[in-house]
Amino acid sequence: MPHLDLLKAAAESNHWMAIFPELMLGCLALLLLALEVILPKKEHGVIPAVAIVGQFGVLLGLLLNFHTGYEGQDTFGGLLHHSENGQFMRAFFLLASILVCILGTIALAKQKMPRIEFFNIVMVVSGAMMLLAQSNNFILLFVALETVTVGFYILVSYFRTNPLSLEAGLKYLITGALSSGLLLFGIVLLYGVAGNPTLPGSSADSMNFTALHTFLAANPGNFLASVGIVLVLSGVAFKIGAVPFQIWIPDVYQGAPTPVTAFLAVASKAAGFSILLILLNVFQPYVHLTTTVLSIMAAATILFGNLAALTQHNVKRLIGLSGVSHAGYLMIGAVAASVLPGALSSQAVGAIYFYLFAYLLASFAVFGVMTHLAGSDDADQELEHYADLGKTHPFLGAVLAIGLGSLAGIPPLAGFMGKLMIFVAAFKAGLHGLLLVAIIGVVISIYYYFGWIKAAFFETWRAPLLEGETDPRPGRTPVSFAAGVMLASLALATVVLGFYQGPFGAWLLSLKF
């Protein structure tokens, strides 16, 4: 029967083992809900542990089976494209997810909130991000992206008794919906123009990236395609937090629960960059257009992020705006990757991935300290709450200093190596103007990063408390063993990776664009 044969042929390329980690995450998420129903209330404490250990297992499986044998192949009818870059990003998102879950156990303990749903949604979002990193088709890209975004709508407003959290969720919803609309409009334009039978290179399956790339190569300078590309880049720029789509960041980062802010800052941004790199590859025939758009955005993003962060004293807003400037530096790397020829573009791609990894280590170290210092009002975290941290909690102080130093880009920490690799790639690509803006940005960022270290370490005179007055600083959560191990490993990894990048660094520099 012809239909059965057609379906069989289409299903030939459904290699379910290729997405085994994502499937495992999905099953684990459902398992958590099942455990919540089955186990009695007093044993619910074991469920976050199940989530974390389960994800560790999935990560271990992914790393042991790193070279899956699917490299370079398209599966699921061209929906997914497997590559070493994709594998790296999957491991990255799993690691971020594990760290968010650990932070979640600490933060949720201070609130009276339902707990298990948090871990469920985090795992679903991570699974979607992992699929996003391998996407080869606009449909899958959009569906996965929407899964991530909708999951984040819920996570951002998770602390539903806090008005700032609800406000943050609403702001994220509205701006996110706008950006999804722009992205969709761009996708549809590209689909439409690539499906036009009168143009050379058109195909019926123009949602597929390979087919789209062929069309764009055959039609350089098509106006509708250009508009589509710019709109798609705008949709991606929202996820990254690039100017002019960054306005949601301070408020959403402040209102969201601290682990969710960490997840947004690291994983959501990384997801945006992994899509950006894939799309820049697809849009390579229009490299002049993408380079112009991205260069202007990168310069504006670096300047805005750094200047706006100067005046912040709420640490969550500070981290959010400083993250905007990091997105700017990464965008310089992305421009360099698309401008440089063959072998050199690998260096730019490796630079971006290394920078993201160093950013993950440093950000989670800082967010870990923030989670321990947060009180019951999660949105109210000010710089003055960090006074005397170096004295009373030297371990947390040291981890904070290492994390902030790495974010500022100071040797010998990993963040500096990331910045260095991006600067070298940018110089080779001839992006001298962007480099100048970048070093201005680094100098400005010293003020607020070191200002934070100053707040934690330097002693300032404070008026003694009057009778009956309580210390306005929220109490600091004692560091549990698991959290201590996590923070120590992140700090140690930052220092070691700054000195010695070893085979990891060499492998990253060899990844293809």
Partner: protein
């Protein structure tokens, strides 16, 4: 080519860093002090040992004890290449010995949270050893920046007046300088065509290919201003007196004594040999800024200082004027004089900062108008202070004399007018140096000091304070009487690097 069984250079860098990590994990204070003393001693002993062996070592393109390690970034041409040549050897010894003195002084200082202080000093020391042992220009920059966070925290927690503002200003200024030099170094790596940051490979690539005058000019400009800010070139110097005035003594000793030499060493070792056309273009402006700005303007400001530590800080900015003048002459004598001067200045300014803190502990003030007659109670301290002052003025018999003399001789060929102005710098340093010695140690006791002395009797230097000071004085006399120990390997290295056909400097028209 390393003929030793153990890579001593890597050992001297790794020991302070490893011990810093071990101490930060937690241990009793006495044990920490012992470990720290050992960790400061190892680089100093290694440096002295390598100095003694240098003359009979085989050289690999002027470098002895050369060893290359892969750290993973070979893809962009970065390797950890370690080695010493005639230019870096004296500075390596400077770093080791001043580090030992600063470390010993810190250990006996009884500061609060001493373990944290020692950990930060050890990180700084590890970085300093790495700066002068690196042949790779990227790691040269990398090890220098290791000092940034420790300095910020040390000045902010253990510092003196205005420490919070001083720490932030210093860090921002130093980052500006560092970023400019980083871009300059990356530009050098890229334009040379060599796919490596290794200085030997860069030299060969530039000799083979050559750099155009335009490229050479702009890279040298970047490096000159970047390194210049790090070395407090006028008018980018304002961070230095403020920062050194606020810094705790050991941090000030390491920073002013050793870390500042990073920029000058970078110019001498990297920029001058590789970018001769750029040097010719920038030599006059640099010399003018150095003489008029650093020597004269800052010299007069130094004379006006009442605060002892600020005065020493300004004087170190002033002495950098001699160094920039020597670099601008672009001759073997001039550059050799700069290296000699760097080493001598490092020892003398470290000694001055050490003594100024000891003075503060006895008089409870840095204001020179409120001291006087200290020599009666503390004759050893007075003798050491006068020696340090004489060294900084440039008295023959002490190390600084040789450096300054050579620079003046070289500068005379370059420009008569600037040399005459530069020599007046000697008179200026004599004025403030001798006056400070007179005000602090000799003459009648002021009322303010008498009150302080009544509450807490003034004692001379303790033996723990004397040890680091004597180490530094011994170094000053040793080099003062036997400068050949440094200048022989130095001259052969400079001639080997500078007198290659493609980098031979065209004759600079004497004014």
């Amino acid at each position: 080519m390393n003929t030793l069984p153990v890579d001593l250079l890597l050992l001297s860098i790794a020991t302070p860093l490893a011990v810093a990590l071990v101490i930060s994990l937690g241990m009793p204070l006495r044990l920490a002090k012992g470990f720290a003393a050992a960790a400061f001693a190892v680089p100093a002993l290694v440096a002295l040992f390598l100095w003694s062996r240098f003359a009979c070592e085989p050289l690999h393109h002027t470098y002895a004890f050369y060893k290359v390690y892969n750290t993973g970034l070979q893809g962009i041409g970065i390797h950890l290449a370690l080695g010493l040549n005639g230019i870096s050897l004296p500075l390596f010894v400077l770093a080791g010995v001043v580090g030992l003195a600063a470390g010993l002084y810190a250990i006996q200082s009884n500061a609060e949270r001493l373990k944290t202080y020692l950990v930060l000093l050890l990180v700084m020391q590890g970085g300093l050893m790495g700066v002068f042992a690196s042949v790779d220009i990227f790691f040269f920059y990398f090890f220098h920046e290791l000092a940034l966070i420790p300095t910020f925290i040390m000045v902010g927690i253990w510092g003196g007046k205005d420490r919070s503002y001083a720490a932030m200003k210093m860090t921002i200024y130093l980052t500006v300088g560092a970023m400019l030099s980083l871009i300059g170094l990356i530009a050098l790596y890229h334009q040379s065509g060599a796919d490596s940051f290794d200085l030997i490979t860069l030299r060969e690539a530039i000799l083979a290919k050559g750099l155009s005058a335009c490229v050479s000019k702009y890279i040298f400009g970047l490096l000159m201003f970047g390194f210049g800010i790090l070395v407090s070139l006028w008018p980018f110097h304002t961070w230095a007196p403020l920062g050194y005035g606020a810094a705790p003594s050991s941090a000030a000793m390491l920073h002013a004594g050793v870390l500042k030499k990073f920029g000058l060493y970078g110019l001498v070792q990297i920029a001058l040999p590789l970018l001769p056309l750029g040097v010719v273009e920038w030599a006059r402006p640099l010399a003018m800024l150095a003489v008029v700005g650093n020597l004269l303007v800052i010299g007069f400001i130094t004379i006006a200082q009442r605060d002892l530590k600020q005065m020493i800080g300004y004087s170190s900015v002033m002495h950098m004027g001699y160094a920039f003048l020597g670099i601008a002459t672009f001759s073997v004598a001039g550059v050799g004089g700069v290296v000699l001067m760097m080493v001598a200045h490092g020892f003398s300014v470290a000694l001055l900062f050490l003594l100024s803190t000891s003075i503060y502990h006895r008089t409870q003030t840095f204001d020179m108008m409120e001291m006087g007659g200290l020599a009666q109670k503390a004759p050893v301290m007075a003798a050491l202070f006068v020696t340090a002052t004489m060294a900084s003025i440039g008295l023959p018999g002490l190390a600084n004399f040789w450096g300054e003399l050579t620079i003046f001789v070289a500068a005379w060929q370059f420009s008569h007018v600037l040399t005459v102005l530069a020599v007046t710098g000697v008179v200026i340093s004599a004025i403030y140096g001798l006056r400070s010695a007179a005000r602090v140690f000799f003459g009648p006791q002021t009322e303010a000091f008498a009150k302080v002395a009544a509450e807490k009797p003034v004692t001379d230097l303790t033996c723990c304070e004397k040890l680091p000071a004597l180490i530094l004085v011994a170094a000053l006399f040793f080099i003062g009487f036997w400068p050949r120990s440094i200048s022989t390997p130095l001259n052969s290295a400079i001639e080997a690097i500078y007198h290659q056909p493609a980098v031979h400097a065209p004759a600079v028209a004497a004014k």
